[in-house]
Amino acid sequence: MVGAAISSITSSQITMIKGGGGGAAAAFPSKSMELRWIRRNSRRKIPNPNPSSREFGSLNSTPPPLMMPIYISADPSHINLQELSELYTSCNHSCHRFPKVDSNTGIVEEALDLNKLRIALSHSCVIVSVFCKPQHVKVTNITKQIQNQEQQKQMKRGFVGDLMESVAPINPSNGQLIGFGRAVSDLGLTASIYDVMVAPPLQGMGIGTIIVKRAVRILTTRGIYDIAALCSTKERFFFKACGFRDDILGSTTMMYGRTVSNTCFEGNELVTAAGRKLLLAPPLRVPPFPSSKTTKHQG
């Protein structure tokens, strides 16, 4: 059967990829993806998508099925950079904490730097990706549409064909990336979770929580218990539901915010763009300088 031939090629490819990349979560050598069933709350009304915002799928897309399988992977080699950048776009998420945003629509305006994303991924010690079957989510990007059409042409149709397709597990090449999350760690004491996102039509079904819990599980297995996540006001509810709390020691979260606009700009200092902020480096002090007694403070 041609369908079987295709899936056998792709599964052997997975093993090749696996061999090349190594076990990402060495604690969980996952050769395949973990399957989970999620349920949509049928009583929850699906909000009308904002016509001017970028949506994943058509405006009149059918709601996701009541119960559907999703596939969770912790293997970084399962990530297709192009697909990931499309997920960032459809979730309206930016790698920068304060991205340039169109004031009318709220859409992130800046383009994603793929090179930087690749570097960030290669230094994230935990990468969680969630896939689903393409038929459960309308695909908008052209490459995937062509891919799906080709696959459908080659697969035998009919009752058995459909049955095989519905029970066949997916792999990164024929699954649709719908969720992502990553964590950066020093592998000893601390870790930070960044960029958790789920495709908008599938939000509210518990996928995000699964991503965060999987990342936390991988980290705690490695003995890292100090796990932080930066969240905006909206994201705070989400992380609270995942088991995160305000710091028990009462520490204050601070971010470097010395910008061109809020400081006297001398003109010869280093300026770095981070989203919509133009960060200004601290003034250069030429060492060695004489020791001076200032107010006593703890480091």
Partner: protein, 247 residues
Amino acid sequence: MLTRNVAAPPSSLCPILSHDWHFQVSDQLLFPHNLNPNLNRATRKIKGFRLKANFWESIRSGILKNNATQIVEPPSTLEEEEEPVPEEFVLVEKSQPDGEVEQIIFSSGGDVDVYELQALCDKVGWPRRPLSKLAMALQNSYMVAALHSVRKFPGQEGNEEKKLIGMARATSDHAFNATIWDVLVDPNYQGQGLGKAMVEKMIRTLLQRDIGNITLFADSKVVEFYQNLGFEPDPEGIKGMFWYPRY
């Protein structure tokens, strides 16, 4: 020199990470690499290339997944990644009337003895953490800045006393985000602007590498210290949350 270096040579990348991975699947490697478990001793550049090659291949395979064959490119075509170049310079120099000279030296090469660090943490009153975890964290931090005090005595050539008096470290994904952890200065040397100099140098290095999201979690007593350095508390409602296991 009276110091003992227990920590491995400066490693501000996370190449240990990749090394860990392909160390585990040695029977499945496609690339003719020499799996040398003592890779730590190799020079940084070679280590970076060799270890990154595997990961690059895996990421690229994801992009080329429709091809049945693997494309193996020579490492020279990989992008050169910028690492913070370790710096070392004298911050302060004090001379005593009897000829003794004390220098405070800043270094960002991660040259921190983990036992000395533990002693310093005790001195400032921090809770103890397992030494192995501390060493691991130092190895895998993006940047480890240290302050050492070197005292040279007159007449005793080559006899100097060097001790660790301050440290700060930052973890990062090398592209967008960085978090500064564990900033500490020996209580006897506080109040001189040393902590400020360390953190400023860190920020400058991070900004030079185009890493714009610099975060830290400050104890209530030091919030003002960081505000003076340009940090804002809870900017635009952004807060940090921590995971707490439910028992």
